[in-house]
């Protein structure tokens, strides 16, 4: 009797979207047919999404990867020696040694793709709980100080220092305080929150537990968008396992710490990613943005002091506590410290997760790691920071991935999503879409956003139809000004960013409509 061969097939929903479940079933079937015994483990995805489904086989040399594997190829692959790590067209070699992975600095995503996401044993074997144990040796104020000294800033978009927020909650007296994780991840081009929750949910639980200890909270909520049913399921299962293990509940790790955690599911409203709208939604109300002040740290969920942080912010905390603030702070540049989980998306040859210290240029990410466009055509535009982020032209990609460098270029790093477009993109259409999206998703509380976005669509339509272009361009400028200045939140306030950047960098797209040849592709090639 031989020991079974361990085979990894991801359960991440991106992998499932291209057939990973069928591949896993085929492997079991083909192995049985060949008389081989296998143990199929459903791991998270390493984030090399162009290789999904990526099958890994454990051998003496390490984990050998094959991908992208179509279900109908499995039979041949097994016959060709997949279970022994044999060479093949689809064989990628030892996965951990692939340059794409080797060149990353994986702190937040250290375990994603490597472990079985719901195995408590795997979690501990790969360094899990070290951060929480260390935190419990410190006072809450010392934990907050560690987070402050690490330089960690909110990964949800605004980049607010996490330690300062936590200190406010710690210093606000209250019997009942909350930790809320913002897992609404509505931005196009972003999927890191989802992959972390599906691939290593215990890290988020550990980060939230550390936050609870640091600020004196006893109850936590993870607000996950309903578009992520797999993440919802995995988080709920992980919370149940954590309770069994004593990682959540009335006496966490025997320390006397009490904290419990619940998953809540959104209902298809982008605005519920804005933190105060999320709190309203958690209270069972419409997702209407609240005026600030008061800030959630003092008057948050049910008016109690509340930490609201993004998934990646909270999931970065365990490593900060485990290895110390100084180690985290040593990475990055200027006021952007540590690592950011960048997401390469859209028309890109090699899309996925790339976690690295702040400072790598956008161009290096797109060209060296992303491999340029998927279509093979020239890159023409890149949108960074989600639907409210700026469009950058192909000759503006030497920007370092860092909060302030982006801000001074009139752009936004946001949640780290990078969406690549080739030279067939119509930038007037993208600007129109930004307004259309805002009109669709506005919470409706303030006029500049609610009415401005609808007007914005109309005005752009007039411009591209050639109706009084100069007058309408001026009107569009005024409208953008009004939305920027007069909106209550960044939904209306930042929608002008993609619109204005499209106008600034691609003005021809707004006037060329209906005319024979625009020369617009030529411009893209020479820039």
């Amino acid at each position: 009797m031989t020991t079974p061969v361990t085979v990894y097939v991801p359960r991440d929903s991106a992998a499932l979207s291209v057939g990973a479940d069928l591949v896993a079933a085929e492997i079991e079937r083909a192995a049985a047919e060949a008389g081989r015994s296998v143990r199929v483990v459903r791991n998270g995805s390493h984030g090399m999404l162009w290789l999904e489904p990526l099958v890994e086989v454990v051998t003496e040399r390490g984990r050998i990867g094959y991908g992208p594997v179509a279900p109908e190829e499995v039979g041949d692959l097994v016959a060709a020696g997949l279970l022994d790590g044999a060479d093949h067209e689809l064989c990628q070699g030892v996965v951990a040694e692939l340059p794409w992975l080797r060149d990353q600095t994986r702190l937040c995503f250290a375990r994603v793709g490597i472990t079985d996401p719901l195995s408590a044993e795997d979690y501990v074997a790969h360094g899990g709980l070290t951060g929480l144990r260390r935190a419990l040796e410190l006072t809450p104020a010392e934990v907050v100080a560690q987070v402050t000294e690490s330089g960690l800033r909110g990964r949800g978009g605004a980049g607010f220092p996490a330690g300062i927020k936590w200190k406010t909650v710690l210093d606000t007296p209250g019997e009942l305080k909350f930790v809320c994780c913002n897992a609404d991840e509505g931005d196009s081009g972003t999927f890191a929150d989802r992959m972390l929750m599906e691939g290593d949910p215990f890290t988020l639980i550990e980060g939230m537990t550390i936050a609870a200890y640091a600020v004196g909270a006893t109850e936590g909520y993870v607000y996950i968008r309903s578009e992520y049913p797999d993440a919802v399921r995995t988080m709920r299962q992980a919370i149940a396992v954590a309770r069994e293990q004593g990682w959540l509940g009335g006496d966490i790790l025997g320390s006397g710490l009490r904290f419990d955690l619940f998953v809540r599911v959104g209902a298809g409203a982008y605005i519920c990613g804005e933190e105060t709208a999320m709190l309203e939604s958690l209270e069972g109300k419409r997702g209407m943005v609240r005026a600030k002040p008061p800030i959630p740290a003092i008057t948050g969920l049910f008016n109690k002091p509340t930490v609201v942080n993004n998934v990646l912010t909270l999931a970065s905390v365990p490593t900060i506590l485990a290895d110390g603030a100084a180690a985290y702070q040593a990475l990055g540049m200027e006021r952007s410290r540590g690592t950011q989980v960048f997401q390469l998306a859209g028309n890109v040859a090699r899309g996925g997760i790339f976690e690295t210290a702040f400072g790598m240029t956008l161009g290096e990410l797109i060209h060296t790691y992303g491999g340029g466009t998927r279509t093979g055509r020239p890159v023409r535009a890149v949108q960074v920071g989600g639907p409210l982020g700026a469009y950058l032209p192909a000759n503006g990609l030497d920007l370092p991935m860092e909060y302030e460098a982006f801000a001074s270029a009139g752009a936004m790093l946001g949640h780290g999503g990078i969406v690549v477009f080739d030279d067939t993109v119509d930038m007037a259409a993208m600007a129109r879409f930004a307004m259309e999206f805002c009109a669709e998703e506005s919470c409706g509380k303030c006029t500049p956003c609610r009415v401005g976005a609808v007007r914005g669509v109309e005005v752009i339509d007039k411009i591209t139809a050639g109706q009084d272009p100069d007058g309408n361009l001026a009107l569009l400028g005024d409208l953008c000004e009004l939305m920027t200045e007069g909106s209550l939140c960044a939904m209306g306030g930042l929608t002008p960013m993609p619109v204005r950047s499209a106008l600034l960098h691609f003005p021809d797209d707004f006037t060329a409509r209906g005319k024979p040849s625009t020369g617009r592709y030529e411009e893209a090639k020479t820039s």
Binding site: S17, R194, S226, G266, A267, A269, S281, G287, R374
Partner: protein
């Protein structure tokens, strides 16, 4: 207004009871109703209002704010195509146009035989493998017209 079917009322009461200990339970309850009945009938609004001790207007406001809660049942298969930026960069608009043409309905509509509802969605978190779409509960990536056809046919026949 038609008075709610007593069995529905009982079921809604039971769902509310199951969430009695939850803070701000309205959304979780509405999700359960949506999952069980396929839509949130206007008849359940007064029941929820009474059970949760909030106004009908407040319940109605919440139900209508969120796109997930349907006023009417959807078709037997729900096809959602992503129209957000990353999917647009790899041809989502063309795919949506194709689906509208072949299904003979616009986004937001259900085919006359009630088999398919076509909807748009803004991002499914599958932005490196676009164009993405969701058919019933499952997300699919790298969609092409042919792959979409095959998946829709399979779902409709199931």
């Amino acid at each position: 207004m038609a008075s709610p079917d007593p069995s529905v009322t009982d079921r809604v009461r039971a769902l509310v009871a199951a969430h009695r200990g939850d803070r701000g339970a309205l959304l979780p309850i509405l999700h359960r109703i949506q999952a069980e009945f396929g839509y949130v009938d206007s008849d359940v609004v007064p029941v929820l209002a009474t059970e949760l001790n909030i106004s009908r207007a407040d319940v109605h406001g919440v139900v209508t704010f969120y796109t997930d809660f349907r006023a009417e049942p959807a078709g037997r298969t729900v096809v959602k195509l992503c129209r957000a930026e990353a999917c647009q960069s790899v041809g989502a608009e063309q795919l949506v146009a194709y689906a509208e043409r072949t299904l003979g309905v616009k986004v937001g509509q259900t085919t006359p035989d009630g088999s398919v509802t076509l909807e748009q969605v803004f991002c499914l978190g599958n932005c490196a493998l676009g164009p993405a779409g969701q058919i019933d509960e499952r997300v699919h990536g790298r969609l092409t017209p042919a792959r979409l056809d095959a998946l829709v046919t399979k779902a409709v026949d199931a």
